[in-house]
């Protein structure tokens, strides 16, 4: 949103446009290549009220894409059906990705927002053995 806009400088109806220009084939354009406008939350950090965050451990990931499909905020980064990581500017810490992760141990786990990623990855839980 431009700063110092007067009342007469807005689009009527307080509507916001996602893109600066007209777009086509948006579904096949990666987010970083889309001409997002300033008023689109893609360019804003909106995850700052998160208190718990998911940490991704690629050692156990099978790229099933469950987390990518279930994430309600498009905050799982994935390319060519390979899990890349978490977009912490937009993730709200809901934990759904961890819930749906099917690996053993899970490839995503929730930690305190202030937890150190390297430390937690080094102390990742062992594979759980099934009870007979």
């Amino acid at each position: 949103m431009a700063e110092n806009n007067g009342w007469d400088q807005f689009d009527a109806g307080a509507i916001l446009f996602s893109f600066n220009d007209k777009v086509d084939n948006i579904a096949t354009t990666h987010a970083e290549d889309r001409p997002y406008s300033k008023s689109n939350s893609y360019t804003a950090s909106v995850g700052d009220w998160r208190v718990a965050k998911p940490i991704f451990n690629k050692d156990f990931c099978i790229d099933c894409q469950f987390c990518w499909i279930y994430c309600p905020d498009i905050s799982i980064l994935s390319r060519d059906k390979k899990m890349v990581g978490v977009d912490y500017d937009h993730c709200k810490g809901c934990g759904i990705c961890v819930e749906v992760c099917p690996t053993n141990p899970k490839s995503l786990l929730m930690f305190n927002e202030l937890a150190d990623e390297e430390t937690e990855l080094a102390a990742w839980p062992e594979k759980e053995s099934k009870e007979k």
């Binding site: 109806g13 307080a14 916001l16």
Partner: protein, 406 residues
């Protein structure tokens, strides 16, 4: 492609059918409705037209009036021509969404068949629901007969959908007295009516995939004020020119002349009654009667309630000695809305007419010719005395001891 309907030059329609036919002729894309008395036939007739192939659109049945207006908001934001109808309790339930519609600048047309608000429950006509909507940011057009309901409903689309205006429009008609009273209504040919209103032109449509828009954003103290100011500014400066332009075009097309202020015998009037709805026609009859007796009686009908034509009204009242404002809604603890509005019109003028206020017709109580005569009698006394000779506010047509205040 929708079938055309052959209409007689004059059809016998009640106000509801008149509105339904206007809805049909403009070929609405989406009607989301939850029918309520006395507006039920507006959407019932319309659903019939759609089922019989006279309309090429969608009719969405919903679970409440709140949902009906919400459906209208969604469809309008998506980029279609949208309308619905309601009354009374349904209108009250819609109220939250009315503000959403106007704030998002969605040109929805809402046919409001005016009815009293409970409690006590009542299905008959008064203006309580119309008054409830007056701060909602909608344009409010008032009609006095089925002919006017037909004409103004057609015009409402052309007024609200204009890209400079982009505001929702209520078309009001009195429950039962207008909505269920059949009269000869002069019709317009389907093609002529459609071409007059024109094909819907989407504007910042949510479903424009090349330029998608977000509707319903949140603004706090940083930007909310600016958006509300923009809306108020557009209501104040852009609506009257568009209404006048549409009225002019309609007169050219049909010969039927509408005015932003429906003044009647006001040029030289000493005494005047201000009213809304079907009462305007009744008051004109008594004004004619008084004119024959040499009394300079005039009538002002409020055609456009919002935005309120303050400066135009000041000109119309110039030189008038006594004015009565007739409010068909319980003010519940103060003077009637019209008394306040007309006082506001006159306070900074050099005119200093004696003004009083009558509360009448609540819950469908009749306003009789004798009631109107008695009001003009009061005005004549006040005009001659140059001072108010009765209480400022009186109830008319009420059982029991005379009720008056101030």
């Amino acid at each position: 492609m929708a079938d055309k309907m052959d209409l007689l030059e004059v059809e016998v329609w009640d106000g509801n059918m008149a509105a339904s036919q206007a809805f049909r002729q403009v070929q609405i894309d989406v009607v989301a409705a939850y029918p309520i008395t006395p507006s039920t036939p507006v959407v019932e007739n319309y659903a019939g037209f759609l089922a019989d192939g006279y309309v090429d659109g969608e009719y969405v049945m919903v679970e409440s009036e709140h949902a009906a207006m919400s459906g209208c908001v969604g469809a309008s934001a998506a980029g279609g021509r949208v309308a619905t109808a309601t009354s009374s309790q349904g209108f009250a339930l819609m109220t939250e969404v009315l503000y959403q519609a106007s704030g998002m600048r969605l040109p929805i047309v809402l046919e409001v068949v005016n009815r009293a608000l409970a409690a006590p429950l009542n299905v008959n006509g008064d203006h309580s629901d119309m008054y409830l909507g007056r701060d909602s940011g909608w344009i409010q057009l008032d009609t006095f007969s089925p002919q006017e309901a037909y004409d103004l409903t057609l015009m409402a689309f052309k007024i609200g959908e204009d890209h400079n205006v982009r505001l929702p429009v209520m078309v009001h008609q009195d429950g039962f007295i207008c909505s269920h009273t059949a009269q000869g209504v002069k019709t317009i040919d389907d093609d002529v009516a459609y071409n007059f209103v024109g094909e819907f032109q989407p504007f910042n449509a949510m479903l424009d995939f090349e330029k998608p828009a977000s509707y319903g954003v949140q603004t706090e103290e940083d930007w909310h004020f600016e958006h509300k100011a923009r809306q108020h500014n557009d209501l104040m400066t852009k609506v009257f020119p568009q209404i006048q332009s549409v009225f002019d075009g309609f007169e050219k097309l049909t010969g039927r002349k509408y005015r932003i202020v429906e003044e009647y015998d006001m040029e030289d009037a000493d005494v005047a009654i201000v009213a809304m709805g079907t009462s305007v026609e009744s008051v004109r009859i008594i004004a004619n009667e008084l004119r024959e007796k040499g009394v300079k009686a005039g009538v002002v009908g409020i055609r456009v309630l919002r935005p309120f034509p303050l400066t135009e009204l000041a000109k119309v009242f110039s030189g008038v000695k006594a004015i009565a404002t007739l409010d068909r809604s319980s003010p519940n603890g103060t003077v009637g809305m019209l008394f306040n509005e007309i006082s506001g019109v006159l306070i900074n003028t050099n005119d200093n007419p004696i003004m009083n206020n009558y509360i009448y017709g609540l819950g469908g109580r009749d306003l009789t010719m004798d009631h109107i005569r008695s009001i003009y009698d009061d005005l004549i006394v006040n005009a001659e005395a140059g001072a108010l000779q009765q209480p400022l506010q009186q109830f008319i047509g009420l059982r029991g001891p005379k009720l008056s205040f101030y």
